[in-house]
Symmetry: none
Subunit: 403 residues, 2 copies
């Protein structure tokens, strides 16, 4: 991983621009042995041109064999060792919708769910109710009052919401309530350390009140809470690398992880790659580093829809000239983890990495951007947290080490 | 290396089966520049098919340039960083023949040797006397009594034996007696730390008694002792990875290192690859992970017999269908270290690695299993201790890290 003290010592200002383009879950697998992956199957003339001009490699988001969640996957790309900096899902969700944690906050990710008359969960996502359906339910939950803490509840998307408790002496060392299967009742919150007993009790009270308030709603008549977590107080990206960093992302979760490391979120309308690249274009002069997050590669991978994932990659490729027109000094195209459509889930496979930096790249001999080309690529197989030092170096932003 | 706490956190049960097939000393070198290595020279249709379907790489057992002994070589393959977990040869030999160390034991590997009338060693292995010749000599040594400790002596193979001292206050921090050359006298045991003085004295007494008892024997009229060591108390493989692990090995040393990490040793008749695969077949339902050790690749390498080593590889390849018939979910074929026939000894070269996992492998474009193909392989060059996390991931036995 990037040694932050070394980075801070060596980081120097420059007028260069760096772009990290993350196609979430990009890495894939063939549908049949010997066939192309999603990326290899896509018409991608622009990415292939960048591959010819640049150099390739494959990155390990966390380590060999480790399947990363979205938080660890992005932390690695930002240069933070995901094994050293552990962030809870509650915090990620809270940051994603712009909820500040504060130093004394404990956040949880909530799911609306459906329970039967016996209190057993029949649908862990309450039929994936629409965000608009969830909003009045969240307003009900916001009326709950507890002694000694303030609570804040916000809808996230569909059946998901975030709740943050703030007050003295709270602890995030408490257990989750989602039994992770249907046919089981939600679990009570339990303290995982002695000083968390009161926090557990408060969350249990809150859940009991929520159950009363939702009793007559269908299908969302109950909640589960997961990912209890406090602000991890990460060192700030801008301080470590001495850059002005910005995030362009459609989904709250990814704006959240960017905010956690202190990036500025750029607001914009729309949700296509073209919309995102237009947002970058408008802010081009205000920042040195742009993290651009493209979500649907992962979504279509999780759907198991190989062809739809191919189409997403093709759409990004078609929109790419607008980004290239900005003439970034360094562009990296990669992912936070693989999501092969054939697996329908995040996987442990390495991420394809394309590094394009016209002034300084030592190009390899690969002529296309794909998993197999990346296996042979000039960057080799390396930890994702090394991407930031590489980008910094190619941007002429790292001084010589030693005399 | 595999982070054991991370592995324990993420390890999950599954119905999958993993096989680690170790061809000891497999890695080799060409006999002439540009020629094939032993592996590349072998007729190996089955291994080549697995290579086409799977992915290749090369592993570093300990680190760049480090030649591993058998203990460190295997520890790495089992996921243990060999630089962190140091096991003495004495303990390895003791475990290999089924001698339990106990918490207070100190083991040494012994060699029968020949000394001349001046007490100088003329043959460090006493003409490689047969095991049957050594057995009555070992029985003589077993009669030696010392104050305050119990001693246990056992033949291993040919001129090699094991001795274990057990008692209060023993220390393994003592020096070896083998001068590692002929024409020199055996060295006295010296304490390497203050509290080891009594242990050194006891071993010196035992050696003096042994010399008297062997005085009239030829060629084995003296002994040397090496590898003083106590039980390293390794964390157990089954606890770390949540699997039921089994070892199939002909040689005591390798059963020993497997026992050290808590694997169950499967007893079987015979010593061919077919015999070993048959033993795996009989126990297939009782374990999740099988470590299969094939010794003669290393032995023929140490003999400097290139052609004979090729033949061993071919014999393994021919026997392989019986193993593949079991349809393991993950199969890794590799070695604990290289033993190029042209070097006649263990070497520091990386080990060829073949990973085959039909459901989840991201195949590279290599079409044969050999050192050069492995250099280009999709897994890259990596620490041997990462093989276990990779096998676990491909066996669907590691949960996602982080949300």
């Amino acid at each position: 991983m990037a040694d932050f003290r070394l980075m801070q010592d060596l980081a120097q200002d420059a007028k260069t621009k760096m772009v990290l383009l993350v196609l979430d879950g990009l890495g894939g697998l063939p549908q049949a042995p010997g066939g192309p992956t999603e990326l290899e199957a896509a018409a991608r003339p622009n990415l292939n041109r960048l591959a010819r001009q640049g150099t390739l490699g494959q990155s390990l988001p966390v380590g060999y064999g480790i399947t990363p969640g979205s938080g660890p996957g992005h932390l690695g790309l930002f240069g933070y060792d995901p094994l050293r900096f552990d962030i809870g899902r509650g915090v990620l969700e809270a940051f994603g919708i712009g909820l500040e944690m504060g130093e004394k906050g404990v956040a949880a990710r909530g799911n609306f769910c459906t329970v039967d008359s016996a209190g057993l969960i029949s649908d862990r996502r309450a039929g994936r109710i629409a965000t608009e359906t969830a909003r009045p339910l969240v307003e009900k939950l916001a009326t709950i009052r507890l002694p000694g803490v303030t609570t804040e509840v916000r809808p996230v998307k569909e059946y998901r919401f975030v709740v943050v408790f703030r007050g003295e002496g709270l602890s995030a060392e408490i257990s989750e309530t989602d039994p992770q299967r249907t046919g089981a009742a939600p679990l009570p919150v339990r303290a995982l350390e002695a000083q968390a007993a009161r926090t557990a009790e408060l969350f249990n009270q809150w859940i009991a009140e929520a159950q009363k308030l939702l009793a007559n709603d269908r299908p969302a008549n109950m909640i589960t809470l997961r990912g209890f977590s406090g602000d991890p107080r990460l060192p700030k990206f801008g301080d470590i690398f001495k850059v002005r960093p910005a995030c362009v992302a459609v989904y709250p979760m990814y704006r959240g992880v960017a905010k956690l490391v202190g990036m500025t979120t750029i607001a914009f309308e729309g949700d296509t790659p073209a919309d995102e690249f237009a947002a970058v274009t408008r802010s081009w002069n205000d920042y040195d580093y742009f993290f651009i997050h493209i979500k649907p590669t992962d979504s279509r991978g999780e759907d198991g829809n190989f062809e739809a994932k191919v189409k997403v990659i093709e759409a990004v490729d078609q929109a790419l000239p607008a980004l290239l027109k900005l003439a970034p000094d360094v562009l990296v195209v990669t992912c936070d983890h693989s999501t092969p459509a054939v697996m329908k889930t995040h996987s442990f496979h390495p991420c394809p990495v394309l590094l394009w930096a016209p002034a300084t790249v030592r190009a390899d001999e690969e002529t296309s951007f794909g998993e197999r080309a990346c296996m042979r690529g000039g960057l080799g197989t390396f930890a994702a947290s090394e991407i930031m030092p590489l980008m910094m170096a190619h941007a002429n932003r790292l001084a010589k080490y030693g005399a």
